[in-house]
């Protein structure tokens, strides 16, 4: 394909496909702005990286951040918030750079051989920043609040595999609170939830309803559930927790850093927590600054920001700057084209297969992603113990094969179908959509591109299922093979779940059950290989490629280890320091 998607070709494409003037204007406006910014900000800096003076003294690091909706671990749905909450509160376990669950507040954990009983041993010197010791009671409190439907925490879904979790939820929301029997039981076990118990002040035991080999991933994703101070929040009613001032100013916590201030739309400041159980962090404070990405790159070059994740287009210019280090690492996320399985003209596996053949995915990875990515053939491609499953159809680029499949299924080449995409937040989204449109058009699948913003996307993709195709990326598929169940298990059908292609296959559902229940990694691997083969054949989505994550950081920052998942960049921030 060569550099087939240069501007000239794109311009021809636009004219050929008769995009209307509004589209053209939009592209020129965004493209023009992008180009202007790139020209302005992309050139190397004239050594402006002056050492920052910290008025309060001490070592500090500044990072880019997004405006938070909340700072409560119970309510954050954005990874950008969760990673900071983990740093402030600490959670039982966290995810390492390669997404392995590793101990955090729990100094160690054990899993029973049948993957039913999870035992966590807490650090005995863990203390909240107000001096109160953190004990198993705080962990139970946090989990109970998360499971209480009145709280409205999205952690409830993740913790439901715990034994008695459903019953607890019904008791609290339906029956007006704990029954006397439950209270008596709780006095003995430490929790109103049957599957949660505390043999002593520093041990928490979680018992699953049935064997669950991936529960640590539930618990650790994306940054773990921060442990809340029971003595502060016990008196707050569950349905009032979200509105409580503590949710935006969590001033008592047990993590390595504690909350100092959040200046609306400006920055969040955290400082070293002197009561932290572990080695005191070398940094005095970390600033999470809310800056426009384009400006942020300039600030990074100028030495005013120390770390940010960058797009593939910024790799080359930033690597020229002697003050910065640029890294790329494989990510657990996946770009896909969702195919609406409820539309009869789309719900033929031969269409999905044809689309796989029609797109020269390796060429797109080479050109659009500058080679920083892998072509992927199923939603299962990690972690390390899983690897890439064997026995998959690789779907090499073969437009003739694609046309043959389309003819066989009776695809109407006069039909035009819509493909939604979201441009905001991803500079390559527009190009990606256009390139795919071109490839599919070549074999007779006529695509009309439809740019939507996120809210409209959710409405059409998740809530109403009112779409043909959606091209997008994200997710943490690579963290655990069970994650793909979110998108393809029929019990997770949208709008209640993430199966937005609305794929229904009882055979697959049964395999997912077996995969969760299998206690050892070898057994799990065998089952998930079957799942991968099945989805690779059935093609409810087009599996495109997994792009790498890119970071740029100032050389003064020591200890940063690029995580595969971009929002996990603070995973080892406890050990960071600065030079000079």
């Amino acid at each position: 394909m060569g550099t087939s998607w240069d501007l000239e070709r794109l311009a021809q494409e636009w004219t050929a496909r008769g995009l209307d003037r509004r589209d053209l204007f939009k592209m020129v406006a965004t493209g023009g702005a992008g180009m202007a910014i790139a020209t302005l900000l992309g050139s190397p800096q004239a050594g402006a990286a002056a050492a920052r003076q910290d008025a309060t003294g001490g070592a500090q690091v500044s990072m880019i951040w997004r405006t938070p909706n909340t700072l409560s671990p119970l309510f954050s749905t954005a990874g950008s918030e969760q990673q900071v909450e983990r740093l402030i509160f600490g959670s039982l376990i966290k995810m390492a750079d390669n997404l392995d669950p590793i101990p955090d507040l729990a100094e160690s954990f054990e899993i029973s051989e049948d993957a039913t009983v999870y035992t966590f041993h807490l650090h005995q010197n863990a203390t909240f920043s107000d001096g109160t010791p953190l004990t198993a009671a705080d962990v139970v409190f946090t989990f109970e609040r998360a499971l209480d439907p009145r709280t409205g925490s999205y952690w409830r879904g993740r913790l439901l595999p715990i034994k008695g979790a459903e019953a607890y939820g019904e008791m609290m929301s339906g029956g007006g609170g704990a029954t006397p029997e439950a209270e008596a039981d709780a006095a003995a076990t430490g929790s109103l939830v049957e599957g949660i118990s505390t043999p002593d002040d520093y041990t928490v035991v979680l018992t699953m309803e049935q064997p669950h080999g991936a529960f640590l991933v539930n618990l650790g994703n994306f940054s773990g559930l921060g442990i809340l101070p029971k003595h502060i929040l016990e008196s707050v009613a569950p349905d009032q927790m979200m509105n409580h001032p503590f949710s935006l100013a969590p001033n008592v916590s047990a993590g390595a850093y504690k909350f100092v201030t959040y200046e609306t739309d400006q920055y969040l400041e955290v400082e070293r927590n002197d009561t932290y159980w572990g080695t005191p962090p070398a940094l005095d404070r970390i600033f999470m600054r809310i800056v426009q990405p384009d400006i942020a790159i300039a600030e990074l070059e100028n030495g005013n920001l120390d770390l940010m994740s960058i797009s593939v287009d910024d790799l080359e210019p930033l690597s020229q700057n002697p003050n910065l280090t640029v890294v790329s690492v494989p990510s657990p996320s996946l770009d896909t084209i969702s195919i609406n399985q409820t539309r009869d003209y789309l719900a033929d596996k031969r269409l999905g297969q044809a689309m796989h053949y029609a797109i020269d995915r390796q060429a797109v990875v080479d050109e659009l992603l500058r080679g920083r990515g892998r072509v992927i053939n199923s939603p299962i491609f990690g972690p390390d113990w899983m690897g890439i499953p064997e026995g998959l159809n690789e779907y090499p680029y073969d437009p003739d094969q694609a046309r043959a499949l389309l003819t066989e299924m009776g695809w109407d080449t006069n039909r035009t179908i819509e493909m939604m995409y979201v441009a905001a937040g991803d500079p390559t989204a527009e190009e990606r959509a256009t390139v795919v449109q071109q490839f599919l058009g070549d074999v007779g699948i006529n695509i009309e591109l439809l740019q939507v913003e996120v809210t409209e996307l959710i409405r059409r993709l998740i809530q109403e299922g009112d779409y043909d195709l959606y091209i997008g990326g994200g997710g943490v598929y690579g963290a655990d093979p069970s994650i793909s169940a979110t998108y393809y298990d029929s019990r997770n059908l949208a709008p209640g779940g993430g199966n937005s292609v609305r794929y229904v296959n009882p055979e697959l559902d049964a395999l997912y059950d077996q995969g969760i229940a299998a206690p050892t990694q070898e057994e799990r691997k065998a089952i998930y290989t079957q799942i991968a083969q099945l989805l690779n054949e059935e093609c409810p989505s087009v599996f495109l490629w997994s792009p790498e994550s890119h970071f740029a950081f100032n050389n003064r920052l020591v200890g940063f280890q690029a995580p595969s998942y971009v929002d996990n960049r603070l995973w080892n921030a406890e050990t960071w320091s600065v030079t000079g």
Binding site: A36, T70, G152, Q266, E299, E301, N304, I458, R459, G475
Partner: protein, 320 residues
Amino acid sequence: MTKYLLRRLLISIPVLIGITMATYLIMNLAPGDPVDAMLNPEAIASLGPGWVEQQREALGLNDPVPIRYLKWVQQALEGNLGFSYIDRQPVLEKVTDRLWPTLKLMLTVLIISLLIGVPVGIISAVRQYSFLDYIVTVLGMISVSIPSFFLALVLIYFFALRLDWLPATGMFTVGQERTFTDSFQHLILPATALGLAQAAPIIRYTRASLLEVINQDYTTVARAKGLSERTVIIRHALRNVLIPLVTVVALDIPRLLGGTVVIEQVFAWPGMGTLAITSVFGRDYPVLMAINLVSAIMILASNLLADVVYALVDPRVKYS
């Protein structure tokens, strides 16, 4: 005059009602609702069935739009603007927190644009068709034509990044004590970026109306009395220029308010514009309504103010 003011204020009430009604309806025409905006595809799987419906019910989104509007009006009349759908904080507090940064920016922009616009306009009128006049006209055209966000980036590039004289973004330096100097330094770039664009129409109006006035009989009379050109311009001509100028400045306030939205975004200025953008994407109806209300009041007030000042500067204008 008092009677006139009262009448204008009374007329403002139906206008405000009309504005809120229209914005409420238009807002609800946008695809998706606040609950959609709260979800992200990765989190949705762990929410479990019913969560979405529960949230929608809790936020009262299941009522028809007219009913929701009436409920909003009823609450607003009681002084309760509701709670943000995004972070559940009181709307009144959220908006008033952002009002001051925006006013501060707008006021500075107004001062800058007047300080540039009026003198430059006078000079270019007095020296009509001179080289200077042409330069000013061309520069004026350019500053009107350049989008303010682009000018902002140019300013950031040169003054913040290349020269390192001024901070690039924010309202004060992160992690430092708040001083007047510091906040002033942060104000310069955003206010200049917007001020230059705002100055251009002022230059043109000052020039045009001064030219008109200079050819009036009373200016000729003043000259004939043997007054110096300076006195003629400043004492006699300029006072008459003020009349159209007041209108231009007042009528430009909506444009200024619109301009701050973009500039606040670029400079991470924590004002109403930034809040408006987040609220639009989050479909945060209560916050959006409050912002609309505040903006509408600001614009109505500026129009009213224009009329009042009009009467003050021009004795011929009488309201009855």
